[in-house]
């Protein structure tokens, strides 16, 4: 994908669509398009996070490995959402394994250059960081709801 169409993709994405055009263009200069086949591992839990990504199409499962139970999917990243936030949050290690479970296209930002750009460019940092926090807050709140196990067996039912 040309830089021009990356700009378009960023303009479309819920993560970056209301960002200033100048910041979006600077972000586009750091971006690449990654196409992942079903089963491709994009990030591996516990290892250094190589990329921050925004899913354009397809589906990325975030999995945690539990000894004896195998890998458990705790969230899927759907189009418009991001993965690899740990690329910009110390200690820069992935908190889950990210696997494409259908053919997936994503905008990806290499972790090193992205961190350098955020350190050097306050405007870019001021534009991107709140959006990452928003995405993470949404994920945290959803995770809390999941934690409640709302569909599980309720205790003490009368009938």
């Amino acid at each position: 994908m040309e830089t021009r169409s990356i700009v378009d993709a960023l303009a479309e994405s819920p993560v970056t669509r209301d960002m200033g055009r100048a910041e979006r263009r600077r972000l586009a200069a750091l971006a690449a398009i990654t196409n992942a086949a079903t089963g491709d591992v994009l990030l591996r839990e516990g290892t250094e996070t190589s990329h921050l990504g925004i899913v354009l199409s397809g589906r990325v499962a975030l999995r945690l490995n539990v000894l004896g139970r195998g890998p458990i999917t705790i969230l899927t990243v759907e189009p418009g959402d991001l993965f690899g936030w740990s690329a910009v949050v110390p200690p820069y290690r992935s908190t889950s394994t990210a696997v494409a479970i259908v053919p997936t296209e994503a905008i990806t930002f290499e972790a090193g250059p992205l961190r350098e750009a955020l350190a050097a460019d306050d405007d870019l940092a001021a534009a991107l960081n709140p959006r990452l926090m928003q995405a993470l807050a949404r994920r945290l709140s959803a995770t809390r709801d999941q934690l409640l196990d709302l569909f599980g067996r309720a205790e003490g039912q009368a009938w």
Binding site: P14, R59, A61, L62, R63, G70, P71, I72, T73, I74, L75, T76, E78, P79, G80, D81, I101, V102, R138, A142, D145, Q146, L148, D149, L150, F151, G152, R153, A154, Q157, A158, W159
Partner: protein, 660 residues
């Protein structure tokens, strides 16, 4: 009502056909210009007539959307056609009238003076039921305040009204729906004529009409003649039918301002303003100045204008209704909706002129039906309850059972009382077995023809576990159907969003069945379901069937899954909180654990849905199911009786509030 005379006991009689000339002559003798139907330029228009031969004797018309043709049908009928392009407003509210003058006198002073009409007395001959209604509507708008148009009042007062009941209908007529005709009440006009083969049945409705009738060569009308006249008018009513669903139309239109169909109509509409010019009630005007060449005197003129004109809503910075869809919407919603707010009456009388004279044949009846379709069937009824009080159950037999999930079982019941088998989506029954408390269970599918329903029961306590553990052939007691279900009629014409969590899919399954039964009544249907794990998804066959349908958008998610699951993982709102669709005109039905419904409601409101159109189904302790026992009280509602389905607007701040 402005009338030329006072209401008098109606004198009636029969006027032979030859007496029509006598009628016209005596009206002229009274000093009146007689205005009636006559043929000009291939159409029947209203203009001055002097003899019966000026009428379109023996002519009929053929009208359809964008079409008007006259036919010489032979015979002597004087009124054997429907209304043409002119309406009486051409005489009561002319297209161009002077309303004031301004002059500069010798000394350079300006003098302004109003022009007050002093019209000669006229008689309108051949005013139809719809046209009488149109005159009454213009009376309301122009003569009954708060502002009054003196020119209209003068012209209207000068007119004696001789009405004619229609004995033929055009395909464009819809007076029956607008309740303006074809029958004409005695006191609705000075004189009322009904044409039969050999002449006219005459009724006088006012003193002025009686004064005319007394001088006519009337003979007593025979009963047989009278009943022939009635039958002819009744046949017109029958022929027209009831093409516009008037009840509630004003409100439905007001709710449809963002309907995409306005733009579709605009692709056909030429904004030519023909409809407003032929409309007998349209009253919008502009006031302009015309001055003589030396600039000493000018006349202020009132001319017809139209909300379809490009400059009609123009201000210095631009125009408020620049697009044709804006102008068409303005016209239609004014006629059928805001006119009611302003004047207490519809602005349409159902004459059909705007249909015939639209050059592209836009049919207002069809557009109303498309944009603001009437609710049909299935309005939430207080259903016939098959068993009454808390102690009354009727027996049903378990025909079969199948597991839905590890803890949920679906019972297919047979021999179900018809009142239950014909219940509404979202209603529930109380289910019991001897020795166990009755439990409220939503009906998860209806098979009314087979006297059967399905109940999907989660084994959560002793009673539900016992019922889930029954076998085919066992019997249960039922009471219901209870509660207020999903308001499906409010979904007509809208995009529909159905969100359910876990076993909350069961109460919405009959809703989805009903939506799909009449799929073309609704816009996009989006169904979202969340479950704990893939194995905890109830009604998996239905989810698969809906997923295969091209006319349904289905998305499901689970809270956790193993590697084999190719679908989404996450909370159900995850499926649409980043979607691009807008929800302002959509309707949503939500069922699941209350906290899941709260999270869903928050996202739906965020997407623009109105609280009045987000419906949730609440679960509370329901013992009696009919609002007697008090267990399920929530604020001012009993959930069992007033719900379990409520809109967010109805629940207000009680939704999600702790301790209510």
């Amino acid at each position: 009502m402005v009338t030329a005379g006072q209401i008098a006991p109606a004198g009636s009689g029969f006027l032979p056909r030859a007496g029509l000339d006598a009628l016209i002559a005596l009206l002229e003798d009274d000093g009146r210009r007689v205005i009636g139907p006559t043929i000009a330029d291939g159409a029947i228009v209203y203009d001055e007539i002097h003899a019966a031969t000026d009428l379109p004797l023996g002519y009929g018309d053929e009208q359809a959307p964008g079409r008007y043709r006259l036919h010489d049908t032979g015979g002597e009928r004087a009124f054997g056609y429907a209304v043409g392009p002119t309406s009486w407003k051409a005489w009561t509210f002319p297209a161009r009238v002077p309303i004031g003058t301004a002059e500069r006198d010798q000394d350079g002073h300006l003098r302004f003076a109003p022009v007050v009409a002093d019209p000669p007395p006229v008689a309108f001959l051949g005013v139809r039921g719809c046209e009488l209604a149109a005159l009454r509507i213009q009376d309301r708008v122009l003569a009954e305040g708060p502002a009054v148009d003196p020119d209209f009042v003068a012209r209207r007062r000068s007119a004696l009204i001789i009405a004619v009941e229609c004995t033929v209908a055009a395909s464009t007529c819809f007076c029956t729906s607008m309740r303006t005709g074809p029958e004409i009440a005695d006191d609705a006009a000075d004189l009322v004529l009904t044409e039969i083969a050999e002449g006219f049945l005459v009724r006088a409705g006012t003193d002025a009409g009686r004064t005319v009738a007394e001088r006519l060569p009337l003979v007593a009308a025979g009963d047989e003649q009278t009943s022939r006249g009635r039958a002819a008018v009744a046949a017109v009513r029958e022929a027209i039918g009831d093409p516009v669903a008037l009840d509630g139309l004003a409100g439905r239109l007001a709710d449809r301002l963002d309907d995409p169909k306005w733009a579709e109509i605009a692709e056909r509409c030429l904004a030519c303003a023909n409809c407003t010019l032929v409309c007998p009630t349209c009253f919008c005007t502009s006031v302009g100045q015309r001055s003589d060449l030396d600039g000493r005197a000018s006349v202020t003129e009132r001319t017809w204008d139209s909300c379809f004109s490009g400059d009609f809503a123009k201000v210095a910075g631009g125009t408020f209704r620049g697009r044709r869809e804006d102008r068409y919407r303005q016209w239609l919603t004014h006629k059928f909706s805001t006119w009611v707010d302003q004047f207490g009456t519809s602005g349409c009388v159902g004459c059909g002129r705007c249909i015939a004279w639209c050059p592209v044949g836009i049919d207002v009846r069809a557009e109303l039906a498309a944009i603001a379709p009437p609710p049909t069937r299935r309005s939430i009824r207080s259903a016939p309850v098959a068993a009454g009080g808390p102690g009354e159950f009727i027996t049903a037999r378990i025909d079969s059972l199948h597991p839905e999930t590890p803890d949920t079982t679906t019972l297919v019941l047979a021999d179900v009382h018809p009142a239950i088998a014909e219940g509404a989506p979202g209603q529930f029954v109380m289910v019991t077995r001897p020795g166990l408390p009755a439990v409220p269970i939503s009906i998860s599918r209806y098979h009314p023809a087979a006297a059967s329903i399905e109940l999907s029961i989660r084994a959560a306590g002793p009673a539900t576990a016992t019922i889930s553990g029954l076998a085919a052939g066992d019997e249960v007691g039922l009471r219901g159907p209870l509660g207020r279900g999903w308001p499906i009629d409010q979904a007509d014409g809208r995009d529909v969003i159905v969100v359910s969590g876990g076993i909350g899919l069961s109460p919405v399954r009959p809703l989805v069945d009903a939506l799909l039964d009449e799929r073309d009544r609704y816009g996009v249907i989006r169904i979202f379901h969340g479950a704990r794990t893939p194995a905890d998804r109830p009604h998996a066959d239905d989810l698969a069937t809906w997923a295969d349908r091209p006319d349904v958008e289905l998305a499901t998610t689970v809270d956790r899954a193993d590697e084999a699951w190719p679908g989404a993982v996450g909370v159900v709102t995850h499926l649409f909180d980043q979607a691009r669709w807008a929800g302002r005109e959509a309707i949503a039905f939500v069922c699941g654990p209350e906290r899941m419904m709260q999270a869903t409601a928050a996202v739906l409101l965020d997407r623009g849905l109105r609280p009045e159109r987000v419906f949730v189904s609440l679960e509370r302790h329901m013992d009696c199911g009919i609002g007697l026992c008090g267990h399920c009280q929530m604020g001012k509602a009993f959930v069992c009786r007033d719900g379990p389905v409520f809109s967010l607007a109805e629940l207000g701040s009680n939704f999600g509030r702790e301790g209510v």
